[in-house]
């Protein structure tokens, strides 16, 4: 795998306010990487440093092997950006905006493909100032992909979307990954990060508090999968003794386990009838990103919460 984005011990302050503190992470080619964190956690500042709008106070960043501040146009040809907030020339039409943006690149995506990707086919003749919030965001997206970029930075791309528009945007992002694009996405929608992110970085206090898949974050947060199944009483009691966290009540076993795989291996060792019954009734609920996120954020804020009054 090729590392496409590298953030190495980046710190950045605004006046007395320290926003990023030695933040480090890297993103591999073809990956959707989500930056998650509460408001003010430094998500947009991180993106603005990667986009070359801000200079880090210390540390370094590389995008496609280049320094975003020094590389200029050469790098911008290969990167698409959806900014958190940015306007359009109000008296242009959607189609004109897309054509104009395509003209800035050497090998842009086909005009029709862009319209289809973002679902603005029926709005191409509309003036930009007459678009709804969701349509404007889709146009943001269209302009970001117009140059057929290798890397796409999306800063809260679905903020303000209705559920249908969000679903369409998610489809578009997944389509881009299928085309081999590398995507860095900031969001504070946990379901969005869980659905799209191959890996997720939870920004806490200006640093990457945790990085990994939902499952890995759950492990870091010491969360366990919730399981339940049916087994004969004697087996149920035996299993509850073997796996801390499981409770047996009559023939029902339920609780939280660290290693679902060990449990299933153990269930296979039951006699055939009991094993079939256990597997047929087995329900495994892995920890959600929301649980992991709240546990991680809560853990970080605990010391403050527990400060003696």
């Amino acid at each position: 795998m090729t590392t496409v984005v590298e953030v190495d011990r980046v710190s950045r302050s605004f006046g007395a306010q320290s926003v990023l503190r030695e933040l480090s992470f890297s993103i591999e080619q073809g990956e959707i990487f989500c930056l998650l964190g509460p408001n003010g956690a430094g998500k947009t500042t991180t993106l603005e440093i990667l986009e070359g709008f801000l200079e880090p106070d210390s540390g370094s960043v590389r995008v496609l092997g280049c320094d975003p501040l020094a590389s200029g146009e050469a790098l911008r040809r290969r990167v698409g950006v959806v900014l958190q907030e940015s306007g359009f020339p109000k008296f242009f039409r959607v189609g004109e905006m897309i054509e104009t943006w395509r003209s800035y690149y050497d090998h842009p995506l086909a005009y029709d493909d862009i319209l289809d990707l973002v679902g603005l086919r029926s709005d191409e003749a509309k003036l930009v100032r007459k678009l709804s919030g969701g349509q404007r965001r889709r146009l943001d997206f269209a302009l970001a992909v117009a140059g057929d970029p290798e890397v796409i930075f999306l800063d809260e791309p679905t903020t303000g979307f209705d559920p249908e528009a969000r679903a369409r945007c998610w489809e578009a992002i997944v389509s881009l990954r299928e085309l081999g694009k590398t995507i860095l996405l900031t969001t504070h929608y946990l379901d969005e990060a869980e659905r799209l992110g191959d890996r997720i970085a939870v920004l806490l206090d200006g640093a990457a508090g945790a990085i990994g898949s939902t499952q890995e974050l759950a492990q870091l947060a010491n969360l366990r999968a919730t399981v339940s199944f049916q087994a004969p009483s004697k087996d149920a009691e035996q299993l509850a003794r073997e796996f801390p966290g499981l409770d047996a009540a009559s023939e029902t076993v339920e609780g939280e386990v660290d290693e679902v795989r060990s449990l299933t291996r153990r269930l296979e060792l039951l006699d055939e009838h009991a094993s079939q019954r256990a597997f047929a009734s087995l329900r495994v609920q892995p920890p959600s990103l929301e649980q992991a996120y709240l546990a991680l954020v809560g853990r970080q804020s605990d010391p403050m919460d527990s400060t003696p009054q």
Partner: protein, 256 residues
């Protein structure tokens, strides 16, 4: 080289399209000077200037309004348009593309040049058609120099000022407040205005009066060639403004 020129031409065309589609900018740039000339002409057309018998006031009002057209179009409109584009995040969006920032700003300046020349030409034409006032044949050089130096100087000032405007709401008030008082005391609207000596000395240091002086030289039969002092004032202000704009121009809205 060719591709740079093609890019510049294409971007200038886009800026022109964006400009003329905005009714506010179109009105203030083209129609306001014409309305002003029509009104001032109706009021001043037969008035004399002091004891001069060779010209009427309207002969000097026309170049004054041409100077006004240059200031509105090249300075006020460019400064407020860039400030609004910055505040709206349009400049930041442009900066995410591989478009060379110098090409973008040059296209803005070229578009301003086209627009200002159109506004100036329309004002000169109205002066001729409605009031039978036209530049002298000997004054064409002063007119051309006044327009070129004036547009470059005021566009550079507009570019420099735009970065000092932190909010879109403040764009109009700030730009108008920085040139209208000078225009009033520099005789843009009233060529027979009398101001105290100290104020006249002060005003002569600013580019507004220098521009008026150059354009008046194109119309006033007593003018002798091209006023070099006024040309120098415009050139110095223009160079200074370009230097300031290069240091201070910002693509992103203020964080404050």
């Amino acid at each position: 080289m060719m591709s740079i020129l093609v890019r510049l031409g294409r971007q200038t065309k886009l800026e022109q399209r964006a400009f003329w589609r905005n009714p506010d900018y179109a009105f203030f740039t083209l129609l306001l000077p014409l309305l002003l000339l029509a009104l001032l002409g109706a009021v001043n057309s037969g008035d004399e200037i002091g004891d001069r018998t060779d010209i009427n006031a309207i002969d000097l009002v026309v170049p004054g309004v041409v100077a006004f057209a240059v200031m509105v179009s090249a300075y006020a409109n460019l400064a407020s348009r860039l400030a609004v584009l910055r505040a709206d995040g349009v400049l930041k969006r442009i900066r995410t593309t591989p478009l060379d920032p110098r090409a973008y700003l040059t296209a803005q300046l070229l578009s301003t040049l086209v627009t200002t020349l159109l506004a100036s030409a329309a004002t000169i034409l109205l002066g001729f058609v409605a009031f039978d006032v036209s530049p002298r044949a000997e004054g064409v050089l002063a007119l051309a120099l006044g327009l070129v130096l004036g547009i470059i100087c005021f566009a550079a000032l507009g570019l420099a000022l735009s970065s000092a405007i932190s909010h879109a709401d403040a764009a109009g008030p700030i730009t108008h407040a920085t040139y209208l008082p000078l225009a009033l005391v520099s005789g843009v609207f009233d060529p027979s205005i009398n101001i105290p000596g100290w104020l006249e000395t002060l005003v002569s240091l600013f580019p507004v009066q220098a521009l008026v002086e150059l354009l008046v030289a194109a119309y006033d039969p007593t003018a002798d060639g091209v006023p070099l002092g006024a040309s120098l004032v415009l050139a110095i202000w223009g160079i200074g403004a370009i230097a300031i704009a290069m240091r201070t121009f910002s693509w992103v809205p203020s964080r404050n």
